[in-house]
């Protein structure tokens, strides 16, 4: 898979944020699959991804994400199209 690289980085970020080394992300993973993925953890997660991958999300982009597959799609798109300076 072309986005394997994103998945592996994301997996690492998720494990760090949720302090759970058993997390294995799939495109179908949703917030209800991961214990503790609430609104507070979500913001921590988003900023961790932004810092690590040097991208920045918009309000509207975060509103329409339903699973990890869509998040990866968005990250892929952002990595290709926009890079903000660190």
């Amino acid at each position: 898979m072309q986005n394997d690289h994103i998945y592996s980085q994301l997996n690492e970020i998720f494990r760090g944020v949720f302090e759970d080394n058993s997390i294995e992300l799939t495109p179908e993973t949703t917030a209800s699959d991961i214990e503790g993925w609430d609104s507070v953890a979500h913001v921590d997660l988003i900023v961790s991804i932004e810092t690590r991958l040097k991208i920045k999300f918009k309000t509207s982009e975060l509103g329409s994400l339903h699973n990890v597959g869509q998040l990866v799609g968005l990250i892929e798109y952002k990595l290709e199209n926009t890079r903000v300076p660190a």
Partner: protein, 521 residues
């Protein structure tokens, strides 16, 4: 027009369905136009003058969208256009919803002796205002093309959601209006949608409306409630609100489904929640999603990014320190819930309601940091202790929710506090005796409360009953857990017979249709 009224059931709905079927023979545009016009008629039936408010709002927001998308050529920065549009939208909302209550409140407390009167609230104004603001925010940030006017008109007015939600997001609905498909009615969707609608109607007419007199009575005289009367009144209100809003949501999703449109879920057995975070993920889910996306996230992200840029951490560990907790959790939570409280109404009691929930959520998050989140043991391996623990958590959550609901329903903070005193048995015997009506509720009333709570806690919700037919856009984690009782709908003669009989009985009982509680928001 109310979903639970004869003109809707026997006039509007059949005409809307037949017109849809006829329009589907022509073109997608005919379908969209028909549904939009029908929705406008639905709205105008209540008070034709307010149709003008709705149409002005839609025309204004669509024009602003065209300016932002540069479909109407201009050079004004899009941020300015967006800010102007939001200010006008919120200004109109404030005028209709808050100005006169505020002036009268000020008047009462400053003894000015001037009666300001009031203005009638156009139904659904906060819902159609919110939906359109989100559309503009998303459009300004880019990522999609502005839609044609007919599609936009239908998105904003589609009658199943127009008055009280669910609050739709354009990204989940517009593609359904724009699909190239056969738009004629589908037997399967009609069957699922109509069955869902009947279940909602039953909740409203046979349950919610049955609990409302007891709730009204208790909240009308909060200063003379005995302990039992206060609790009976409080449970009655909790059940009324639950069945009213849940019934409304079932009807809304069922109606949309009749036209093969899937809505997002709005309700997922909230009283089964085992903590307050969980409660908000199950109660008025589309409002939670909305305030999360457009209020909580922007505030929390701004604070978190600022901290990260200044070398501070955003991790769980950082949130466990008092300073980190205050900045990363408590501040965005309190601002968000304060606004959510005000959204529900103009009185200070709604602020108390919002702030109580902010306190609950902050405590809940703090608990998670210090205790950690534990995944529940897989079904079958759980011990009795863990079931008891879950039941205790559920009960504690329910009590917290009930306390906040006192202020949600009371006429003011003073009345709310008096109600709390009643529920704690603090009213003097003399005060209680002066009002014998509230002294002891009839045994029948207590029995119906027990029955209502049994339905809430033991029965599957309607999306679980309809689970085989993918009733909504998404299944929630909560709905995957089976309820104590199992029920599964299928398009069979038995189900048709049962629902038909229930519908007949409900329609006979539906003589004096009452409004839905969430219409006032």
């Amino acid at each position: 027009m109310l979903f639970n009224s004869y003109p809707f059931l026997f006039g509007f709905l059949p005409i809307a369905l037949i017109g849809y079927q006829v329009a589907a023979h022509f073109h997608r545009r005919a379908v969209v136009l028909w549904l939009a016009l029908a929705s406008l008629a639905f709205y105008a039936y209540w008070k034709p003058a307010f149709l003008i408010v709705l149409l002005i709002s839609i025309a204004f927001n669509y024009a602003m969208a065209s300016l932002i998308a540069r479909k109407l050529p201009n050079r004004i920065p899009t941020e300015w256009l967006l800010t102007f549009a939001i200010l006008v939208d919120l200004g109109a909302l404030c005028y209709y919803k808050y100005l006169f209550p505020f002036l009268n409140f000020f008047n009462r407390h400053a003894h000015l002796g001037h009666a300001w009167g009031a203005v009638l609230l156009p139904l659904g104004i906060s819902f159609f205002t919110f939906t359109q603001i989100a559309y503009l925010v998303d459009l300004q940030e880019g990522g999609f093309e502005q839609h044609g006017f007919a599609d936009y008109l239908l998105f904003a007015t589609f009658f199943p959601h127009l008055i009280a939600g669910p609050i739709l997001h354009h990204a989940e609905i517009m593609p359904q209006f724009q699909q190239r498909r056969d738009y004629r009615l589908r037997a399967n969707d009609l069957a699922v949608g109509f069955s869902w609608f009947i279940m909602g109607l039953v909740k409203k007419v046979l349950l919610a409306d049955k609990f409302s007199p007891a709730a009204d009575q208790a909240f009308a005289a909060p200063h003379s409630l005995s302990l039992v009367a206060a609790w009976a009144g409080l449970f009655s209100y909790a059940l009324q609100l639950y069945f009213d809003f849940s019934g409304y949501s079932d009807m809304a999703l069922g109606l949309a489904r009749m036209f093969s449109i899937d809505f997002p879920l709005n309700f997922s057995s909230p009283y089964k929640a085992t903590n307050v975070i969980d409660f908000w993920q199950r109660w008025h889910m589309t409002l939670t999603r909305y305030i999360n996306t457009y209020i909580y996230n922007p505030i929390a992200l701004r604070i978190t990014r600022w901290r990260v840029a200044h070398g501070l951490k955003s991790s769980r560990k950082a949130m466990s320190t008092p300073k980190g907790f205050l900045a990363l959790v408590a501040t965005p939570t309190f601002i968000t819930l304060f606004l959510a409280g005000i959204w529900h109404g103009a009185g200070p009691q709604f602020i108390v309601f919002g702030l109580l929930h902010a306190v609950y959520l902050s405590i809940n998050h703090a608990w998670r940091f210090f205790r950690g989140t534990k995944a529940p043991a897989p079904a079958g391996t759980r011990s009795i202790a863990s079931y008891l623990g879950a039941a205790a958590s559920c009960l504690l959550t329910f009590l917290a929710v009930l306390l906040a609901q006192i202020f949600f329903r009371a006429a003011g903070v003073h009345d709310g506090l008096a109600f709390v005193a009643g529920a704690l048995g603090l009213h003097s015997a003399a005060a209680v005796a002066a009002d014998p009506l509230h002294y002891a509720p009839a045994p029948g009333r207590l029995l119906s409360i027990a029955l209502g709570l049994a339905i809430v806690w033991c029965c599957p919700n309607t999306q679980q009953i309809l689970a085989r037919f993918k009733p909504a856009l998404e299944v929630t984690g909560a709905d995957r857990k089976p309820a104590l009782l199992h029920l599964s709908w299928r398009p069979s003669p038995a189900w048709a017979l049962v629902l038909g009989v229930v519908l007949f009985y409900t329609v006979v009982k539906m003589q004096d249709p009452s409004s839905f509680l969430y219409f006032q928001f």
